[in-house]
Symmetry: C2
Subunit: 335 residues, 2 copies
Amino acid sequence: MTVLLVAGTTETASIEGISAAGADPDAMLHTPAADLEIVAYGDLVWAPFVPVSPSGCPTPAVVTRAVRDLLGFDVIMVDAGLACETGAPTVAIGDTPGVDIRRGEAVPKAPEIVNRAREFGATLPVEELVIGETIPGGTTTALAVLTALGEPATVSSSLPENPLALKREVVAEALAAAGLESGDAAGNPVAAVQYVGDPVLAAVVGLVMGATAAGTDVILAGGTQLAAAAALARHAGVDAHLELATTPFIATDGSTDVDALAAALDLDLRVTDPGFGRRDHPATAAYIAGEAKEGVGMGGALALADRAGVPMTAVRDQLVAMYDRLRADSPTPQP
Amino acid sequence: MTVLLVAGTTETASIEGISAAGADPDAMLHTPAADLEIVAYGDLVWAPFVPVSPSGCPTPAVVTRAVRDLLGFDVIMVDAGLACETGAPTVAIGDTPGVDIRRGEAVPKAPEIVNRAREFGATLPVEELVIGETIPGGTTTALAVLTALGEPATVSSSLPENPLALKREVVAEALAAAGLESGDAAGNPVAAVQYVGDPVLAAVVGLVMGATAAGTDVILAGGTQLAAAAALARHAGVDAHLELATTPFIATDGSTDVDALAAALDLDLRVTDPGFGRRDHPATAAYIAGEAKEGVGMGGALALADRAGVPMTAVRDQLVAMYDRLRADSPTPQP
């Protein structure tokens, strides 16, 4: 079992009210780097603090690592454009954070990133690849990409209240700046990601193209961001079977329609319930309250646990133990 | 179990006749990057070919990976200064190949590399760290460092005939260019590595300093290069218990005296015999003929296998299977 996490940043995340993937915009810059460290080591190395939402919900990286502790799956981490260094080992696919999509060209190097990721995905000697992401602001860029491709423009949010009106406003501004109408980038996924996407989407679509071309089974571990990556892959001509492994927090998110998105993109939707409602603890309660929902491969990790027959009680126990240890050991930013 | 491999390059390797860690000097530039890919994935990703010596001996990375296939230990890979990109995930500690030591300053950024590696080693949440290396030309820079520190100046070679006269000549030239006499850098390990060392030695000594300060058990997985790193650590005031886990090909190498070196540096010497003489195959015969001998954590990997009770017949079977597959799948450069 190999989980590949693609990490990056986009200046789009610093738009006030867009993302909960960090206590504040400054903290958010560190979130993907910290997420990788948590999944790689179960602890921080260079990152200054454990990522939490403004209300204190811990990053889904903790869930993914908890499952990894139980299953021992391999991880490969890809740097698609981090804003700060990480102590986790990464393969360098990109080197620049994404530009605010309202500026008209979000990922100037998208063609190179897609190609490099495609080559990497094609040569990676694994039979199955579970691909997740960590990029604050990623649902907004995903919405922009889905809109540019003319696919169902529906995304989730790491916030309990999806700021959809704000996202749509940002996306409209982005498309206008890029000179695109809805659907204009249909059949041209590289343009979609270059003008209104983010570096993680560029890397993920390349990885999916390369891996599926090489006959590798691909599971997209995430919610609407990974669905947007799947949309890019479909528009690149990828017709391989693709599974979208996500959490019930995405599946039951009334602000988005992941079923419709999965159906439109011919994705097998797999929802794995970690049963967080059965365990009263800050590490689980925040998810029940609608925060975070997904990310850092969480839905895919849960699917792997389920497939291996690991009971969800064990996942919850491991999550709680890890969360308590991280809270005791590591500073968290004060909201 | 965590094996940390430090990879880098030094222009010193391009001196004719110095190293067998590649079919020719051009191929040698790719050796550390390819070694990391082999240990990470069991196969090449971006590297153009499986590293072999001029006579065709495969890289010890194949042995380390064979053991990893059996034991499933974690790996952390550190880029201390690679000359070309690798498809293996790495933590960036350095970014520049080492300069030919005859030029007078081998690692201008040694202080930064040592500090960065020390911080990384100190925060890494592991109880035991097995540290190996891959850097062509590394025994020559090791000899220079041991000389500069005033320690027993004895090193092994990846060649069956250790080109000691040539190495001593290069080291004499390096010390003269740096304005150093033998022993002048005693107590000043950063200067030793900065003037006549290589980026891998800089990173390893930093890692050892940081890890031991944090109470992590350190096993140095290698031969005389790792002993030189231990010498640097001793001169940095590290008095923790250090084990040097190596192969019988180093221990019985008549051209070096690793026992004396270990004794002088207060290292516990552990020699693990993979019994290559009991298996007639190109993957094992080259070692029996005195090639390669050690590298890419091979001695440490064998020690871990032994400690876990994995029989060496299983290691040999896995090595042979992997070697045959790599030969079938991957191009090798023609000597």
